[in-house]
């Protein structure tokens, strides 16, 4: 039996689709009040994991316990306590904003007066109060996302699952969504999210796992992961297409912890980026542009998988 504050526990969790192993024996635990993320590129197995947690995809192997219950046996009881923001909007675009919350609240068996009271509060929260009686169809992508978030909160869930909550949104709409999610986090709502945006993971997650090819490559807080798998600073250099490879050879001599030669840039991982840049210049390397920045989860991902996150 899981401890009361462990909301989700997975051991060797596996999902197969025929020959394809989408999720390959992963272990993780989620505690109450935490914001937990699955970071990884498309096809890493994040959504399959989310669907198993959401009790809409039977696992192919391993153990999974959600709120102390087995999803194979207690799907409805678990789902009654989850809120889900799916990757693809599943709003009823033929109904109004308010009707969407009504229909959804009724699915949870809530009384009309309860739904009415929560609808007012939730539409305020996601800044859609003025659109309450409008059809959903013409709303912008960002508004639909916010409505989906409001809808997922109508049952006051104990865990909120968000599958790629800002994919497909423009930067401004994305920031509005982040701001709302951050407020939920502040209110102590337990969030589980998947993302392939490292800035999203860094801003929101207390703890995350990096997924690749159905497996967990690393786990920790964003800060931990950066400290463990990267250097404090990164020097990014760009060169002419012609001199790119030559420069890479010369840079091998710079005292850096690691060097990554990408198609368009060369990254030098060093404790001090400016010193690395000075060392490069002293070797006669003249980049077109140079940038010293702090390490991010993108660097962690590159280190762990040899690939970039957003391709």
């Amino acid at each position: 039996m899981a401890a009361p504050d462990t909301l989700i526990r997975a051991r060797g969790l596996t999902k197969r689709f025929g020959e394809l192993v989408a999720v390959d024996g992963i272990d993780f635990e989620l505690s109450r009040g935490e914001v937990f993320g699955f970071l990884g590129p498309n096809g890493a197995g994040k959504s399959s994991t989310m669907r198993m947690i959401g009790c809409v995809s039977p696992r192919s192997g391993g153990e999974l316990s959600i709120l102390g219950l087995d999803p194979d046996l207690h799907g409805p009881a678990i789902r009654a306590r989850l809120g889900v923001v799916p990757q693809e909007d599943t709003l009823d675009v033929e109904l109004t904003v308010r009707e969407n919350l009504l229909v959804y609240g009724r699915y949870f068996g809530l009384r009309r007066d309860v739904i009415r009271e929560r609808t007012a509060r939730l539409l305020d929260f996601v800044q859609l109060a003025e659109r309450a009686d409008d059809q959903v169809e013409p709303l912008s992508g960002g508004m639909k996302r916010r409505l989906t978030i409001a809808r997922s909160l109508i049952s006051e869930p104990e865990i909120l699952l968000l599958d790629e909550p800002t994919t497909g949104l423009d930067p401004q709409a994305r920031h509005v969504v982040w701001d709302r999610l951050y407020r939920l986090k502040q209110q102590g709502v337990t969030l589980v999210l998947t993302t392939h945006y490292m800035d999203e993971a860094e801003q929101l997650c207390d703890r995350l796992v990096v997924m690749d090819g159905g497996k967990i490559a690393a786990e920790g807080s964003p800060r931990d992961l950066i400290a463990r798998y990267s250097t404090p600073e990164v020097l990014e250099l760009r060169f002419d297409v012609g001199s790119h490879d030559q420069a890479a050879e010369k840079l091998a001599e710079v005292p850096a912890e690691r060097i990554e030669v990408l198609a368009d840039r060369i990254l030098l991982y060093a404790g001090n980026g400016e010193e690395a840049l000075a060392a490069a210049r002293s070797l006669g390397v003249e980049p077109l542009t140079s940038l010293v920045r702090r390490s991010t989860l993108e660097d962690v991902f590159l280190r762990l998988t040899g690939r970039r996150l957003e391709d």
Binding site: S57, G75, A80, R81, L95, V103, Y107, F108
Partner: protein
């Protein structure tokens, strides 16, 4: 937070029959909310269609039939012969209409089914909920048809009232398997095929407009296995007052069997589609 949910959680721990139906009713209400926007149009067309058909074919064309072949119809007027057949055929059309595009739309285009599966509802609850709604629609169209037929003087036997449940059952024998099939489809071209090779030929050749005995002997057995023929024969026997217990039992039994098989198939297709 915990208090507000407690009411939901208690019954879900005992997943008995009562719980199953209460979840299905939640989905039924979803269809009602949707139907609120379109019900006026459907009432108009369900009332108008029987008036037009019974007027043009029953009364109009019937004057010709009377002159030639009244004997083949068992000595009744063409109007009296046609009305019960048309009633069963209307139930089929209502059922197929409700179980094709609206269902594929819910799982494929609007994804309202996926939204519902994120709540306590299970695929079987969505299936039950929609079948409840289709049953309601069948009761509505059959009742309207009954009223129109009575107004035309086509239904005379007191047993004619029993055509209402008979017609609803006929509709369900189409609704369950068609809905189960729709859940296996990705494109609506498959749904067009249901009409082209199912609904339209059945409508024309299942004894609605003329006795199946008029068909060539080779294809006659084909007509006997279709649910529509059983529905037509059942409604006709009731409206003409010629029903025998054995005939009613065999038609009802056959239609119930097809419905049951469709429901069993639907459990599989709903689950496979929604729990990937």
């Amino acid at each position: 937070m915990a208090e507000s949910l407690a009411g939901n959680l208690v019954p879900q721990r005992v997943l008995g029959t009562r719980m199953t139906w209460s979840l299905a009713v939640r989905q039924f209400r979803f269809w009602l909310v949707n139907y609120r926007r379109t019900w006026r149009g459907t009432i108009y067309s369900t009332a108008l269609a029987p008036v037009l058909y019974l007027g043009a074919m029953g009364v109009g064309l019937g004057t010709l039939v009377k002159g030639h072949h009244a004997g083949g119809l068992g000595g009744v007027s063409y109007l009296d012969y046609l009305a019960p057949g048309l009633m069963a055929a209307t139930a089929m059309q209502t059922a197929v209409g409700e179980c094709t595009w609206p269902v594929l739309g819910s799982v494929k285009w609007l994804k309202t089914y996926q939204a519902a599966t994120a709540t306590p509802l299970r695929p079987a609850d969505l299936f039950h909920g929609h079948l409840l709604f289709v049953t309601m629609r069948l009761v509505m169209t059959s009742a309207i048809f009954l009223v129109v037929a009575l107004a035309f003087g086509a239904f005379r036997s007191p047993w004619a009232l029993a055509t209402l449940p008979a017609s609803v059952l006929t509709g369900l024998a189409f609704a369950a398997p068609v809905e189960a099939y729709t859940m296996t489809r990705e494109k609506d071209s498959a749904l067009i095929m249901i009409y082209r090779f199912g609904v339209i030929p059945l409508f024309l050749f299942s004894g609605t407009f003329f006795p199946v005995t008029q068909l060539p002997a080779v294809i006659r057995p084909l007509a006997y296995v279709t649910p529509l023929w059983h529905g037509v024969a059942l409604c006709r026997a009731l409206s003409l007052g010629t029903a025998t217990p054995a005939a009613v039992a065999s038609h009802v039994g056959y239609l119930a069997l097809i419905t049951g098989a469709g429901v069993a198939w639907g459990y599989r297709t709903y689950r496979r589609r929604l729990y990937v």
